[in-house]
């Protein structure tokens, strides 16, 4: 019951975050939205585990947290350098 309530709250927030992701306006807003969305997903997985009475699947939540982090870093790298590996040198970075 309480879990369902929490899940609803998180879902609502997910919807709000999603609209920020769609609206933008800047790309950074979108990244922020995706990152925050990932956090919510971790939470909702944890809560759902309790809701269905099988809370021993938290590993999934852990993976989400991890992927969220790595994904965000990848996105940022993409934005700062324009690629993933750094084949080009970061121009005018340390200004």
């Amino acid at each position: 019951m309480i879990f369902a309530l929490a899940a609803c709250a998180i879902l609502l927030t997910m919807a709000l975050t999603l609209s920020r992701g769609i609206l933008g306006p800047t790309t950074y807003d979108r990244i922020l939205a995706v990152n925050s969305f990932g956090t919510k997903t971790v939470l909702i997985i944890a809560v759902l585990g309790f809701m269905t009475g099988r809370p021993d699947f938290l590993d999934i939540a852990f993976v989400y947290a991890l992927i969220n982090f790595v994904g965000t870093i990848a996105v940022l790298k993409f934005f700062e350098y324009g690629d993933l590996g750094g084949a080009r040198s970061p121009d005018e970075y340390e200004s």
Binding site: T52, G53, R54, F57
Partner: protein, 117 residues
């Protein structure tokens, strides 16, 4: 009740069709790949919906639980996810190479270049 029981499938079908639309309509190669991914992911949801069982839980055997959801679709979809990501990787690699060769990833521009060369 009939309608409600199928509602889930209908949404999934709509999702699949959005994905398919993106694949067909979009002229951008990367967007096409994104569309393919949506299409495939939605098919995965279709499979998993088949596996769901009223009152069942995840198919990991524990004492005292008798009703489990169907594990077979899960196995199939694990395979299908891998296939999906493999296709994505290869498709994107091709798109990157196409960009290298044509300087564009728009289908119409590529066709134009092919026609003139």
């Amino acid at each position: 009740m009939q309608i409600f029981g199928l509602y889930n499938y209908w949404i999934v079908i709509i999702l699949m069709m959005i994905g398919l639309y993106v694949v067909i309509a979009s002229g951008n190669l990367i967007k096409k790949i994104v569309g393919l991914n949506i299409f495939q992911t939605s098919v995965f949801i279709l499979y998993i919906s088949i596996g769901k069982l009223q009152g069942g839980t995840a198919p990991i055997l524990v004492e005292g639980v008798t009703s489990y959801s169907n594990p077979l679709p899960h196995v199939l979809i694990l395979t299908a996810i891998v296939v999906g990501v493999a296709t994505t990787a290869l498709g994107l690699a091709l798109a990157v190479r196409i960009y290298g060769a044509y300087d564009s990833i728009e289908e119409d521009e590529i066709q134009k270049q092919d026609a003139t060369s």
